[in-house]
């Protein structure tokens, strides 16, 4: 039997009215649970708690209370409530409307029929709540104000999670439905309105309101909603537990006879910043299918599906098969010999909007044998005009595209090469809007066994075919106009275009680089979790001395392998960066690693000191930037602690500091520097603080950063001296003493 979960997005302040309202919901047929968030104030109110919980305990087990708190905002709590709902269809209520006249079975059936549609209810206001169930309320009511247009809507739990729920960013100011429905609309989602009886919810003029509801007018709401163009939110940090999420994107990989490379290619998916994906690998008839299977299964990740063609059916067939095998909303195209940069999926998804149906980016070629790199930048806004102008296409492995477009248009299985170009051109002709993410998104391996290097002639003819296709779609005048239009497409400014080695070599395969990784977050715990604590060569910790809050914990890990990059990401670390030094003999033996370490011990202590201090100074500059943002002329007083790491700094002398931090940097070979750092609004306050400290005969050195200009220092010392003299003479006169 069809069932539905009702989710109220807030509570009614008056407990009696709340209980009455909830009772009207639980009595509805098909409703098996009503999730009710409670505000912290509500819970702490004795009268509210007494009435509410008496009702919950005695009346109905269908009521599921959840508590809103500072730790869990309203969007977070509701996202979690939807994720844990018992039923596949949820009815979200943003105002306490009466749904008695809605046929919920019809709602459930509509969504079961179209799982990615949203059913939206018209909200009307009655001038009296006393009408009976048989009266035609529609004509006894007026439309609710625009600000109440999102009072009730129903959605499938899965689709809500695919849209990544309500945006949890504070910048959205807790707006729920208006933003969700707008995003749904941006991806071309259907908004269903049921026939009048089932499509209308009512409230009366004196109906209670949910507390904590958004009080913006519709214009303000629209402004906030339109301030973000993307469709999918909460991509990296999301309060919904991982095990309750659904994959949003399918990474489609077609492979053939690349057992030696496919593992590395998949690993680059596994270390992505965005983790709610599945990977569909289609083995297109590899000679050694077992080797491919072994390479894939060795990765031990349940998100990977491996499909196999007994004999090769061609790359187009493999791509179509990958699309058919997934139910994910989106597909990211990836090749079996290429390497994604860590934010490739995040960027691809983030770029999708009302004006971008499918996204693409730039890429960097790397030589499989010597690691040399070259970046390729494609023009923005790929369309048929661009094809007419230059024939160029969006690089295939950079695509993030709704899967339904692939399912609808299909790769042409009669082509063996340039299948992507032909597909992209047909998609553009069909109205698909392509948008450039403005970044290099993957590293493309150049080697002797790649399809494009073996099949160049047919590749070129495929491009020509796509270009030629245009001639059937336009007159010669039209084609000339298209060419002119295509020429106006500009190139995006892409980071790493000029010096790709500097930017991307950290992500090259193990045989080409020595790799260091900088990670932010709970470094020690993460390293213990993944079992590589000894690889950490330096740690930086920046902690508030008053609250104990750790602002930054940043670790530098040395000689990290590609597999370890995956482990680092899987440990929950989201902020990390890999820095590589190209070394074609990088696959070192344990012995050579040891010799390398010994060399460090013998000659490089001074260099380690320099690195450690540079890290500390770098961090000090960041702290200073924060201080100067808040206080225009901010200065730091920095105290060095050569021996012990203090738990508390010289707070006594620096109690007027605006900012009190402890900065600890540890490097290789036991090198360590520790500072306590105090922020002052101006240099005068910093100089005074150091003078106060000096009076207590400290032993450790202290300094002001940045330096106080000598003229200003002289001035402040002189002023201080004047004040001291004045105070002394005042004290000596006895006038200042209180008898």
């Amino acid at each position: 039997m069809s069932q539905i979960s009702v989710i109220c997005t807030s509570q009614i302040e008056d407990p009696s009215e709340y209980v009455t309202y909830l009772d009207s919901l639980v009595r509805l047929p098909s409703v098996t649970e009503v999730v009710v968030p409670l505000t912290a104030e509500g819970i702490s109110d004795e009268e509210f708690s007494a009435i509410f919980f008496e009702y919950v305990e005695s009346a109905d087990p269908k009521i599921v209370p959840i508590v809103l708190s500072e730790k869990s905002s309203r969007p977070q709590s509701i996202n979690q409530a939807v994720a844990t709902a018992k039923n596949d269809v949820v009815l979200l209520l943003e105002n306490p409307v009466m749904v008695d006249w809605v046929d919920l079975r019809e709602v459930i059936e509509a969504i079961e029929d179209r799982p990615r549609a949203i059913v939206w209810f018209t909200h009307r206001v009655l001038n009296s709540p006393e009408y009976g169930p048989h009266e035609d309320l529609y004509f006894r009511s007026i439309p609710a104000p625009d600000s109440m247009s999102f009072s009730a809507y129903a959605v499938s739990r899965r689709y809500f999670l695919e849209l990544r729920g309500f945006d949890e960013e504070p910048s959205m100011k807790g707006i729920l439905g208006p933003d969700l429905l707008k995003r749904h609309e941006r991806r071309g989602g259907a908004l269903l309105r049921l026939k009048r009886q089932s499509g209308v919810v009512y409230s009366s003029v004196d109906s209670p309101k949910f507390s904590g509801s958004i009080n913006f007018n519709i214009g303000e709401v629209e402004k906030i909603v339109n301030s973000k163009a993307s469709i999918y939110r909460n991509l990296i940090n999301w309060s919904v537990p991982v095990e309750l999420r659904v994959p949003l994107i399918s990474v489609a990989i077609a492979t053939k006879d690349r057992a030696d490379l496919v593992g590395e290619s998949i690993s680059s998916v596994l270390y992505q910043s965005f983790q709610d994906f599945e990977i569909v690998v289609v083995d297109d008839g590899s000679e050694d299918a077992e080797a491919v299977q072994e390479a894939v299964y060795a990765l031990g990740d349940s998100r990977i599906k491996l499909l196999r063609n007994a004999e090769s059916r061609g790359v187009s067939h493999a791509r179509n098969r990958a699309a058919d095998a997934t139910n994910c909303l989106l597909t990211a195209v990836h090749d079996d010999d290429d390497i994604m940069l860590p934010r490739r999926l995040e960027w691809g998804i983030e770029a999708l909007s009302e004006t971008t149906d499918a996204s693409y980016g730039s890429w960097t070629n790397f030589d499989h044998y010597d690691g040399s790199m070259r970046t390729f930048i494609t023009r923005k806004d790929f369309d048929n005009a661009l094809v007419a102008f230059s024939g160029e296409g969006p690089g295939h492995s950079t695509w993030t595209i709704p899967t339904e477009i692939i399912k609808a248009l299909r790769y042409n299985e009669t082509l063996t090469s340039s299948v992507d170009h032909y597909f992209a051109t047909r998609a553009a002709a069909a109205g698909v809007k392509w948008g450039h993410v403005g970044k290099v998104v993957y590293l493309r391996r150049v080697h002797d066994f790649q399809l494009t290097s073996q099949d160049t002639a047919r590749q070129k003819s495929g491009h020509t075919l796509s270009k030629f296709g245009n001639t059937f779609l336009a007159s010669s005048t039209g084609l000339a106009a298209m060419r002119e239009e295509g020429g106006k497409h500009t190139y995006p400014a892409v980071k790493g275009a000029k010096d790709p080695s500097k930017e991307f070599s950290g992500y090259l395969p193990d045989h080409l680089v020595r790799r260091d990784v900088i990670i932010d977050g709970n470094v020690n715990n993460a390293l213990l979790k993944i079992g590589i604590p000894t690889k950490m060569v330096s740690l930086m910790e920046d902690r508030d001395l008053v609250t104990g809050i750790c602002y930054t914990e940043q670790g530098l890990l040395k000689d990290i392998t590609f597999d370890e990059l995956v482990k680092i990401r899987k440990s929950g670390i989201t902020r990390w960066k890999s820095v590589g030094t190209i070394d074609v003999k990088a696959e070192q033996t344990a012995e050579s690693a040891f010799l390398h370490d010994m060399a460090v011990v013998e000659g490089e202590i001074a260099t380690v000191w320099e690195k450690v201090s540079a890290q500390a100074v770098g961090r000090l500059q960041l702290i200073l930037a924060v201080l100067r943002r808040d206080y225009k002329n901010g200065y730091l007083a920095v105290v060095q602690h050569p021996e012990n790491v203090p738990e508390l700094g010289d707070l006594e002398y620096f109690s007027d500091a605006r900012l009190q931090r402890r900065l600890l940097v540890r490097g290789e070979l036991g090198v360590q520097v520790c500072y306590t750092v105090f922020g002052f609004e101006n240099y005068q306050a910093a100089v005074q603080a150091l003078n106060r400290r000096h009076g207590h005969k400290p032993t450790s050195p202290a300094a002001i950063f940045p330096a106080v200009d000598p003229e200003s220092l002289v001035k402040v010392l002189s002023d201080e001296r004047e004040k001291r003299l004045l105070k002394n003479s005042f004290d000596d006169s006895g006038l200042g003493r209180i008898s």
């Binding site: 001074a606 260099t607 000191w609 320099e610 450690v612 201090s613 540079a614 500390a616 100074v617 500059q621 920095v638 520097v673 100089v687 150091l690 003078n691 400290r693 000096h694 005969k697 400290p698 032993t699 450790s700 050195p701 202290a702 300094a703 002001i704 950063f705 940045p706 330096a707 106080v708 000598p710 220092l713 002289v714 010392l717 002189s718 001296r721």
Partner: protein, 139 residues
């Protein structure tokens, strides 16, 4: 043969980010410094702990002291605050040792000499890195 000059050494001043100039600012507790005189000699070591050659240091040189130095000079119109000209270095120093030496007529007592040096500040700059620090030199 004159009497031995009084000296006070500020040892082991380290700046891990390195510096290419060093200038003293001094607040004295006595009135004597105005009439007498102090100069500061400096020796600097590079990253590897090697002493930086005199050719790399831009300041006066004393044959008698066999050292690079700068005078502590009075600032006109400002009572009891003094300063030196900066020592400029061709390569970054990571640690330094400075010695304050009395010159001219000499101070009336050890106490007067030491009180003259009770409030010492050192402005260090690294022109290459663009960083700068003002040190409160502790006794």
């Amino acid at each position: 043969m004159g009497t031995a000059k009084r000296t006070k050494t500020f040892r082991d001043l380290k700046l891990e980010s390195g510096f290419t100039s060093a200038q003293f600012i001094l607040e004295t507790q006595t009135s004597e410094l105005g009439d007498k005189g102090i100069l500061i000699t400096g020796t600097f070591t590079d990253r590897s702990g090697k002493t930086i050659e005199n050719e790399e240091i831009s300041s006066s040189y004393s044959n008698a002291l066999q050292a690079k130095f700068q005078y502590i000079e009075e600032i006109k119109g400002i009572d009891r605050i003094f300063r030196s000209k900066p020592f400029y270095l061709g390569i970054p120093a990571f640690s330094a040792e400075f010695t304050a030496v009395e010159w001219g007529n000499g101070f009336s007592s050890d106490q007067a000499f030491h009180e003259s040096l009770s409030g010492v500040w050192l402005v260090l700059r690294n022109s290459g890195r663009g960083t700068s620090w003002t040190y409160r030199v502790e006794p």
